[in-house]
Symmetry: C2
Subunit: 730 residues, 2 copies
């Protein structure tokens, strides 16, 4: 592999007729292209390989000596590349397990192993020092015993289905499989339904042998591999549960976990499929619906019982130091405009794919830009590279840092570009609509290392084969990584970038086996894609920093708002038709007649008819936004006086913040953006126009109409802001 | 259970406002209703239970002593009920296994058990005398060794996909899973693709533990349960392979299996999932596509190899006596019109669900009608009850009998009503469109035993819940049971009737475990549905026999022809769009770019563009048929003179025969009906307008246009015939 690594990949694809760059005047464009050519010659995959090997050599979760060592290593590197570098440490609550016990007491005894054994050929899988065992961070303490019920993915619809089967989970312990939602939704919904405990297991259909050969033969989850992870109620707010909205700077507080609103209501534990199999095998009751069945060699039953389990969990509720590395290169012309680029450095133990593959991309970006700076070049705007700690438990490092620096960020931030690992395959980008053209041009100018065509063209080919629109579309971001606080809490334009879709990275997600050895065998064997990610990220940072004018286009925001508005209207129509049909099937007796009389079937209650809502405030706002974006996108800053150009640029820089509301979303004030949020019942999965959409989904018609007005107002204000900016530029 | 059986179920549901009966004048209607009430009081489930227990006590496949005993028992019963009864024996070729060997020779040795062990609580599962082992009837002899390839369901599209993966099956042995087509298609397509041997296994996802608990805990297929069955190329012609179109009456022939066109080209053997698991586990090569994976706890690979297998099969190619029981009750008014009702009596060994559950329905029907006859009643038309032998290997008994009696049947048959087992659940009927109203009225007047509503209403409730049109629609029949020769070869209106959809009958299909014990535990515990089937069948027979005029309505035929015509037009349009799109993806390179460069991907060759075909002959015929059926359905026979009524009735009786063509379908002259046939590449699954549809599917545009003309002609002649009948009745 060393030989291979010596040949640097050139980033620019052979054929790229359209070379325009948003924000650059013609003369700057050629300078920028020269600069990028020089930059491309500096990239070196061998650095990435060496850094990954080093940073994944021991567990490096938040609060561990490994985390500190990794932060210090990264900081030293940034410093050596010429950055003004600091480690900013915060002190959020971070529980670690003291007692983990899961046993079946009936119909036979079985104790879950809850251990991931060492694997041949995996150098770190045997390291136990500072190794965080398999657990869910921010599960509450608990000692519960009860009959077991299998609840499929553990989502609200699954409990409705159980009700129809006559199965009540009150006082029971549920076992759910990973998938279909973010894991933290499962204990939340279980508790809402009255369960007293929750087990979440990795079904082999999801990321085990059903998907491919298991580690170490292949890359997928081995029998005792399990998925750690956070179960904090992050759709309410992420970060330190005790200091929402405020940086957790005080290391001397005595934390009271009882005051932590986002800790789960019931104890919850992740287990492997080897540990799950005896439990599921011991379940009786109804055979699970077809769509609920996984790939274990057994008949999936829902219970309750005769399997009875005892779950006991105790945690150390302590503050942990979260070491963020912040490296700055001050801009030469516009030092008060900040371009932010980050990835987290903490992992669930060795964390090679997640997050180090992305961290080494960020590092290589910083290194090559540092090299350029050593030749006398300076960015026009200020660059800030960020290596976050404590992302895994609850986006701790990024949230606390951005809460602490909120006012500065609102004043200075141009955009935040995030990654969170990367892999082999296709370009993947999501984020703020104003950056869609910018993202497209960046993808256009990076070569896909395997096929040598541009990463954008390969992305388009895949979409074409899937029958999708070919042009790059930035879908809205939900949550699950460090852009959350920037985008949803502060209204700072954000992107999330990576490559992926080939390779078997998902099979070891959040397990001890997400290791250097696994990564080089089954994800990105010769670091081609960590390099491509760096080429992409560096280009983005460089262009944002150097552009004469901010490279934003607002039209995609209007397009998206119109589409989402149509979606929520269609949603009520669909719900109305479905509700009528379902009520008719209930009332006519057809549902009962079509069910098997030998099996329990509780006919569901009819639902209230879905009213027609007044969507006009939202529809009018969307129409107004289309006009405003068309007008503002026509402004050519190159034709303005310097003062007007500066005012116009500042207006555009803060525009996204106009899409936030100070009171935030209903019941979750921390989330302030009106266009998107992680779903209250999906977790990572985004909900667009969340105030409106979730009210409709929850059949809260009054709140839906209120939110239509509020969201319409906010979008109108945003449109006004853009109109005013355009007017000021004429 | 005996106590339960004493209470006879009443057939007429509580609420049935519409009591009209097609074919009956008002005065006859009330007589018929009285008669049916009397009949309903005669039904007795206990008979059915006793008969089933007796007839399933030993293996009774064609050629076995058990088959002879069962035929003689049935004949004796029919005789005792007053029927003119004969056993008509034919002598078709029927191979039984002499050598069955399947072993893996690399990468490790393993010999398949190929045995179904006895099961606790199953009284017959240990009987080995005359027990036919697990095999495929009409597999060719063979002794082959080769690398193994997993081919999913073994259909043409699966081989296309393998080609794209760079996998060629030439000279290899393939392993396919049961499902998605009739089993005989799998060795046929494997041979077409150059494979030298074929193994077909029952994946647990299909009818094993994935579906429910396995026998004896539940009703589904246990690890060593395997599915016997025919693999004869029945889409070409069923019945004795040496005498297509002619009754095999000569027991003294020396059969030459080499002359049997419908025997497979390569050896083929069915195996259990316990036997399949080591083979599949030993496969290497590409991981199988997601949709190809089953429920075994392993990663499904396609190979080829390293698994290498040796398959050796030798058969006794002998003639076997097939004993059909034919029981007649001559009609009092129209003895030359025959109403036919049948079910087969042979099973793959014990055959409780398949076929005895249906056979005891037919017997109970014959018994109650015999009882009525003893009170002086006689049917107007002649009734013929039929118990077929040798259905399982190749519809032997029914095919040979109907071929032998072809001319009489064309002259006399009114309709053939078939069943082939029954089970718990929903009314299931399919068949000739002219009998749709008749079938609807019959279903209306039988109570569903579990819910007490009419079987038709429960059927409608299920369709409503599934979002389907509620009215009963007779879908067209493909093949898979004894109606085949009547409907497709002779053009005699046919129905297939049963109940099903609840219970776990499918899990032991064609295995030693399809036993009395299994049936009463997991299919129809108290013989409620064998009785409901008898109530339905008896009603149908009685009504067909007693109606003043034949209870047919031709409009549904026109509706179906119009729909199928639209389907074949849409099919070419869909294929045209898909072909263009696929060719574009090939030519633009998108397919290649979207594929994983680390995996072999052979870009498929572009296909010839799909031309626009001249569908006018078919469309005009369909339009003409709509007119003709509207006209003929308006004729009220009650208003005609006896001579005209008789002529009209005879015209209607033979009308379906006008939908046949003497030369039959392309490459399969035995199938003469132009509206439907079993699919050449689906087997049981019906193809409507098969000449046209299959030519399109095979991209044989010339033949498609020829067939459009021919089928159009035939449909027009049929329309002419109906017009003439209507004109003669005015």
């Amino acid at each position: 592999m060393l030989a291979l690594l010596l040949a640097a990949t050139t980033a620019a694809p052979a054929q790229a007729p359209d070379r325009a760059l948003a924000g650059f005047r013609p003369d700057s464009l050629s300078r920028e292209q020269d600069l990028e050519s020089r930059m491309d010659r500096l990239f070196n995959r061998q650095n990435q390989q060496e850094w990954m090997k080093r940073m994944t050599s021991q567990p490096h979760h938040v609060g561990s000596p490994g985390s500190r060592a990794v932060a210090e290593f990264i900081a030293a590197q940034f410093k050596s590349w010429g950055y003004d570098t600091q480690i900013e440490t915060f002190y959020p609550l971070f529980p670690t397990p003291r007692v983990r016990l899961l046993e079946m007491t009936a119909p036979e005894r079985f104790t879950a192993k809850l251990e991931e054994p060492p694997v041949e050929g995996d150098a770190t899988s045997g390291i136990r020092e500072n190794n965080l065992p398999v657990y869910h961070a921010y599960s509450t303490d608990g000692d519960v015993t009860g009959e077991l019920v299998y609840v499929n993915y553990g989502l609200p619809d699954d409990y409705k289905r159980l009700q129809e089967m006559g199965v009540d989970v009150k006082g029971k312990i549920v076992i759910a499989r990973y998938g279909a939602s973010w894991r933290g939704i499962k204990p939340k919904v279980a508790a809402e339904n009255g369960a007293i405990g929750c087990i979440v297991y990795s079904d082999p259909s999801d990321d085990g042998y059903f998907q491919g050969d298991v580690y170490p033969k292949g890359g997928y989850r081995p029998p005792y591999g399990a998925q750690r992870g956070s179960v904090m109620d992050m759709p309410v707010y992420p970060g330190d549960p005790l200091t929402p909205g405020i940086g957790a700077t005080d290391p001397k507080r005595t934390p009271d976990p009882k005051k932590a609103q986002t800790v789960t209501k019931i104890p919850v534990l992740p287990i492997s499929y080897a540990d799950a199999e005896p439990l599921l095998k011991a379940l009786g009751g109804r055979v699970a619906p077809t769509a609920w069945r996984g790939a274990l060699p057994l008949t999936y039953h829902v219970g309750p019982g005769p399997a009875k389990v005892h779950l006991k969990l105790e945690f150390d509720w302590k503050l942990a130091p979260a070491h963020n590395v912040v490296a700055k290169m001050t801009g030469s012309e516009k030092p008060d405009q900040w371009v932010l680029r980050g990835n987290h450095h903490d992992g669930w133990n060795f964390g090679a794919g997640d997050p180090i593959s992305g961290m080494v991309a960020v590092m290589e970006e910083a290194r090559v830009l540092g090299e350029l700076a050593k030749t006398g070049w300076r960015p026009k705007r200020t660059l800030i590279f960020l290596a976050w700690d404590g992302e895994e438990p609850a986006l701790l490092g990024s949230t606390e840092w951005a809460e602490q620096h909120a006012e500065e960020l609102k004043k200075h931030a141009v955009a935040y570009i995030n990654s969170d690992g990367t892999g082999r395959g296709f370009l993947r980008m999501a984020g703020t609509g104003t950056l869609e053209l910018f993202a497209t041009q960046s993808g256009r100018d990076v070569a896909d290392p395997q096929t040598k065509v541009s990463a954008l063209d390969r992305y388009k080919a895949q979409r074409k084969v899937n029958g999708q629109e070919e042009d790059l579309r930035l879908s809205a971001l939900g949550s699950g990584s460090d852009y959350t606080v920037f985008l949803h809490h502060l209204g700072i334009p954000s992107l999330n970038i990576s490559f992926g879709g080939e390779g078997a990275g998902g099979g070891v997600y959040h397990s001890n086996y997400d290791s250097y050895n696994h990564y080089v065998r089954f994800v990105d064997p010769d670091f081609q894609y960590t390099l491509a990610t760096a080429q992409l990220g560096a280009r983005m940072v460089l262009r944002l920093a150097n552009a004469d004018a901010l490279p934003v286009r607002t039209a995609p925001v209007a397009r998206a708002v119109s589409q989402w508005t149509k979606e929520v209207v269609d949603l009520t129509d669909t719900m109305r038709t479905a509700t009528r049909k379902q009520n008719e099937l209930i009332k006519s007796g057809a549902l009962k007649l079509a069910s098997d009389p030998r099996l329990t079937y509780v006919v569901p209650q009819p639902e209230e008819d879905v009213p027609f809502l007044n969507f006009a405030p939202l529809q009018n706002a969307a129409a107004r936004l289309e006009k405003a974006t068309a007008r503002v996108d026509k402004v050519d800053p190159a034709k303005l006086t310097p003062e007007k150009a500066a005012a116009f640029e500042e207006a555009l820089r803060v525009a996204e913040q106009k899409l936030t509301r100070p009171e935030g979303l209903p019941r979750r004030p921390w989330f302030k953006h009106v266009l998107h949020a992680p779903g209250f019942y999906t977790g990572y999965g985004v909900k667009t126009l969340p105030g409106v959409r979730e009210a409709i989904e929850q059949r809260n018609w009054k709140e839906a109409e209120e939110q239509i007005v509020k969201v319409g107002e906010t979008i109108s204000s945003y449109a006004d802001w853009l109109e005013k900016a355009a007017a000021g530029a004429s």
